[in-house]
Subunit: 757 residues, 2 copies
């Protein structure tokens, strides 16, 4: 069944035929036929203006030239519509994926360059699909809870339709009525039905999968002007009965009781009022494309719906939220199931930035990101960005410290990024984040200059690399990446938060206690988690503090734990780089064995260990030619484990990254406190080590009672700074007074910084 | 004894005094006194022209501004000449190091800016040293075989004098005779004597240490016009008796019988006729500075010596050799004891490039490197480069495939770099390389686009990072980094080449067999080693081949082993990155144990193993978002060990890098053959994997007898290419004829490539 059309040789005749037909049609239509396509993403006004401005808008010209070269090369190679058989990364999967992207681009080229070659190409390819589709069985790969036809999952089939709809819109007026009817009857309608009414377990969810499904159906509905199909896209399939409680391949619930469905429901549920998407930035990036492409189409075809104003402009807000959840290089913070390296250079972000600019307030800061992206989308939104850049209207997009609430009403915790100079601290106190969430309440990660210093491991998957588990999630994603011990947060009794049970985790969320960046030199975030371990309350407060006289800002981390009974507590610390010094004697193991049997402990080798003392634990390391030191409170009852990821990994799926685990045994209440410093640099070219050692002489606890704690930081120059925090009152107008070592301290608001000398 | 002069407050008066004195002297000298300094590195003509061109040579102006800012800041901070006590990386060490660099720069600033502030600064600092030096004992740190006074080793004391001599030359005419006498009597002469006649075991060697010593003495001799001292610098200390056979801290011989000493001897011995420095590029970079700074001084003060023409212009050749031993990013290949990341951006290379340009043939390609360096030296050589750049005379420095002979007469093996497109293959068949050499005969490393793909581990040391072993060589340098198993070459019976005995290794070298790059599509290098394991001959041939129709060039590696008795053979393969696929079943270990007890095996954990089959071993991995595959001949008697560096490493000094070891047991003669492909790319932004799998279907041995071998490479498109090699005749005019599987092959020269279909 596999077919390879040698486009160049076979279709030259066709091209001539089509041109002839066109000339007849054109003569006729100029008089009386309404040309009302394209209308979804490209509009006729947009096409007219882009054609007029061609050669005078550098970024747009460059993008057009790139796309033209790509599509021209593809046209030369001919059309290939193989019978589906592979998983992601395999030949048929990648070819169909390439096809829908090519069709969409060729459709645009037809419109912008007014060259029928591209219309013919799209039409030939769509016809090939119309030939193939009606006889296609369900995809032979059986892994998905919703198998597609062209791809192993309906999700990818939906991707295909979202793009193909745009291509169809672009060549709609070029086709004869009969040609359109053929495509709609044999391809588009059965395709839309298959991913919706034939797969309600896929279409009627609150999930990024369903968003793609809803949008695919909605897009083709708008092209075909089919209101019933549009209704289905916007509000889901009505009167469908599905078993609640069943799960998808990632462990997420397919249908939960009492939930709405369709595009609006998917817009209501996962986005918080701040535009944070509950699955995290990696999936938000993926989800943004269908949300925004459909919003554009709706705005253009059904402006009366005012989709961009929906829920207080949540769609535009979400673009900013996403940009702000990237590091200094533009890479998204890889919380939850996130692949490292995904960034705002992804094409879906090019679309997002252009849309937010054009349909938002023409924010000149967005032009800064567009300029970095170096490309625009070829439609009205991209045109608008290209004009802004041409006129040098951009302003720097300076990322600030942010706190984004999670949950549809913003009441399910949140995520904060504290930023100071080139430091970025990500503190996560969100809800579960649907099926891609990790069991990592109150976890954090830390970056300098866009480089990871204290990492979040991210997902365990080689996305689209077929030879590693078909390019899909690896089993280690569940056994390792999602588990609590894989994160920089507290593990109790070597189990994960919520027992790593999605049913429990998805019903809970952490609580916001404080986010205060009024003084950029003392930025504080604080969150509480009461449900991860029943009977135990964790209250973690993190601050970036730049005190006067200090060389660089430091990160203060205080984690209070209160429990109704004694436990073992582990606090992992996933530094990247190589050990420089440890201030306690330690013993390296001769033979490496896994740390435990489950909850991720089976994946950590014990490389060494140390007994701590009643003094500070000081650990210095080097990463990216920079020196860092962690100074922590310790007691003689504590111990340290030096670990390495990679145990119980029969297929070598995990990175061999290091970890330090600070262990406290048989404690009910306890407090972890530490200071993280970036303090020096090394150059392998000059071979100079500058400030290679810590500036902190001692960290100590001064106070912990009656709803307050205070820690003192003594620097090597002999000065002491005290940070005092109120754990019971987070209001800014409350006056506090406590007595520490005979000294009366008074202040207003939930915290204060005091220089003792 | 530690003294801190607050320069700004204390010396303002002095500055006034000096200026007054100067005015008197100047009035007097204009009439009759000859001003003949500076003359070593900066000349009076150079000073005149730089002053005249100031503001019109961008790169020179930029360099001057940078240096001025640095020195001005230092002057504000005041002079600090502490009593020596630390190792490298420690405070006193780094301060004295900073001081000599500052003095040299301040001397230049005095000349170029005609501003006495800088002369005063140099003078005050030299006086502080003249106060300190006479009473200084030997440095308290005891590790060195030649302890210095300012530093823990004479080597660093020599560094100090090389720089201080230049500073002294610059302010020589500014000082009164009495001031000069004070400095020479209390500082320079005793300093020069200490590092030479008081430390002949340091001064009279053939070693980079001695070069620094010779040059230090020579430089100050030229400033002071002391011919006896110059003689000592050029020819060593005469009539000194030293025990031969004793070793330095790195295990190198201090004195070998019958060796000459002094600068000329150090120029004769370690440089080959091709300009390769036997210790390798990392140490060549270090050694080049004294060689070239002294050569400049000799050329300026004693032009009759024609130092740059010495030994067929070996000094200029050596600059090219060094540049050609860097990867696409300019990083030197880290063979022997080399720290990764050291590059031609190092200041000693700025000097080298400027010198090679000015004292060589004004090669416009060197301007390309100078432009990348973005800085020049502030003297006649740098002026010349700045003018060349200003006039846009640069041409691209395109690095070609090279073969550099080792040994004073070029008869002790060599090192080759094969380059094709963005691939670089480094093949090492050198002599031992003095005390910094590794036991790695016929080893190789492989780079793509400047990134390591198959690595050479480099040294085990954190240079100048005091908290890691004082910034000096770690014990793992000897137990791991130097050992054969740490390299991509053959290990016999789990011992190192020459039994890792320097005495044996330093008496032997590999042999050149072939280097042929006539056809850039079939570049071949071949070397032979007969002494590493007595009774065993290794003949390794490596080629970069770009056959027509192949997507990319491949690396062919054939290692023939012949022995008089049976052995175990291990061939390690230090890929960097993460395993994608292995075509044989393998078993990962639950518990990790070291592979062996000595010769570096104690530092490798066994992570997994596989029994091979009579088919190819195929191993694919991903590194730097590129896909690679190694396809190797295998037999069912072979096995594979998946290892990881880091065992027996009590201080966490080693990187946790992976290795594959192809093991053959109980074999006398055998042949390892493999093809290394770079075949695909991955982008975490587009999440597209392109050409993620190998293009090679099968590798097979077609022939191995009568002084020939032939291997066939079948690609997935069904075409077979045969590479035939003559192992006994390497001449280019010899005709060969052999019969392979009934097919008569005829060709001329030592190898040929035949396409079978």
């Amino acid at each position: 069944m596999e077919r390879m059309l040698d486009y160049c040789s076979v279709s030259k005749m066709k091209l001539v035929k089509h041109l002839t037909i066109f000339l007849v049609v054109a003569t006729y239509s100029f008089g009386s036929m309404a040309q009302d396509h394209p209308k979804l993403i490209l509009t006729q006004e947009g096409v007219k203006e882009i054609r007029a401005k061609m050669g005078r808008l550098p970024i747009l010209d460059k993008t057009l030239a790139t796309i033209k070269e790509e599509v021209d090369t593809a046209i030369e190679q001919g059309i290939d519509v193989p019978v589906p058989k592979d998983y992601s990364g395999g030949y048929t999967h990648e070819t169909h994926k390439r096809n829908y992207r090519l069709m969409q681009k060729a459709g645009i080229l037809y419109q912008l360059l007014d060259d029928y070659t591209y219309a013919v190409y799209v039409h030939e390819m769509l016809k090939a699909y119309a030939d193939l589709y009606p006889n296609l069985p369900i995809h032979p790969k059986e892994r998905s809870y919703a198998r597609g036809k062209l791809f192993w999952q309906c999700l990818n089939d939906s991707n295909w339709l979202v793009y193909a709809s745009q291509a169809y819109d672009c060549i709609y007026d070029y086709l004869s009525k009969k040609e359109r009817k053929h495509l709609e009857k044999n391809l588009f309608r059965p395709f839309a039905d298959f991913i919706s009414i034939k797969n309600p377990q896929f279409f009627n969810r609150i999930h990024n999968h369903s968003t793609w499904g809803n949008v695919a159906v909605g897009m083709i509905a708008l092209v075909m002007e089919d209101d019933a199909l549009l209704e289905r896209a916007l509000y889901g399939i009505k009167d469908v009965e599905l078993n609640t409680g069943t799960k998808d391949n990632d462990g997420g619930f397919i249908i939960e009781e009492g939930k709405e469905a369709g595009f609006y429901a998917n817009l209501d549920e996962p986005f918080s009022p701040d535009g944070y998407y509950t699955e995290g930035p990696y999936y938000q990036r993926y989800a943004m494309y269908p949300f925004l492409i459909f919003a554009q189409a709706l705005q253009n075809v059904k402006p009366e719906l005012k989709i961009f104003e929906y829920n207080n402009n949540v769609l535009i807000k979400s673009v900013y939220a996403l940009l702000d959840l990237s590091d200094m290089d533009g890479d998204f913070f890889p919380i939850n199931d996130g692949q490292k390296g995904m960034s705002y250079y992804n094409t879906s972000l090019v679309n997002a930035v252009d849309v937010a600019y054009y349909y938002g307030n023409k924010d000149p800061k967005l032009l800064d990101i567009a300029q970095k992206q170096g490309t625009v989308v070829l439609n009205d939104a991209g045109l608008s960005v290209a004009k802004g850049l041409k006129n040098n209207q951009q302003l720097p997009y300076v990322k600030k410290s942010i706190d984004l609430r999670d949950g549809p009403n913003g009441e399910e915790g949140g995520i904060s990024v504290l930023r100071k100079d080139k430091l970025e601290l990500v503190f996560k106190y969100t809800a579960q984040g649907l099926s891609h969430g990790h069991y990592d309440k109150l976890s954090y990660s830390f970056y300098e200059n866009g480089d990871e210093v204290v990492q979040d491991y991210g997902l365990a998957r080689f996305v689209n690399i077929e030879q590693k588990g078909g390019g899909n999630y690896l089993k280690e994603n569940k056994t390792w990446a999602k588990q609590t011990v894989a994160h920089n947060t507290l593990v109790q009794d070597q189990t994960s938060h919520f027992g790593a049970k999605y049913e429990v985790g998805s019903k809970n969320h952490s609580e916001h206690y404080l986010f205060n960046i009024e003084d950029p030199k003392i930025q504080v975030v604080s969150g509480i988690e009461k449900n991860a371990y029943p009977g135990t309350k964790m209250h973690r407060t993190m601050a970036i503090i730049q005190n006067k006289g200090w060389q660089k800002p430091i990160v203060l981390d205080v984690l209070q734990v209160e429990s109704d009974r004694a436990h073992q507590y582990d606090l992992p610390f996933y530094y990247l780089g190589q050990l420089m010094t440890l201030n306690v004697p330690y013993k390296a193991e001769d033979t490496l064995r896994p740390l435990g049997g489950d909850f991720g402990y089976q994946h950590i080798y014990k490389e060494g260990s140390a007994q701590l003392t009643d003094d500070n634990l000081k650990f210095s390391w080097m990463a990216n030619n920079k020196f860092y030191t962690l100074t922590s409170l310790a007691t003689a009852k504590d111990s340290l484990i030096m670990g390495r990821v990679g145990a119980s990994d029969p297929e070598f799926n995990l990175r061999r990254d290091p970890v330090l685990i600070h262990r406290k045994n048989d404690r009910s209440n306890t407090m972890y406190a530490s200071v993280l410093e970036s303090h020096g640099t090394y150059s392998p070219v000059t071979e100079l080590a500058v400030n290679a050692t810590s500036n902190i002489k001692k960290l100590y606890k001064l106070y912990e009672q009656d709803g307050y704690w205070a820690v003192g930081i003594e620097t090597v120059d002999g000065r002491t700074t005290v940070f005092v925090f109120s754990t019971l009152n987070n209001t800014s107008d409350k006056y506090h007074s406590i007595n520490i070592e005979g000294r009366e301290l008074k202040w207003k608001g939930p915290f204060t910084l005091i220089n003792l000398n």
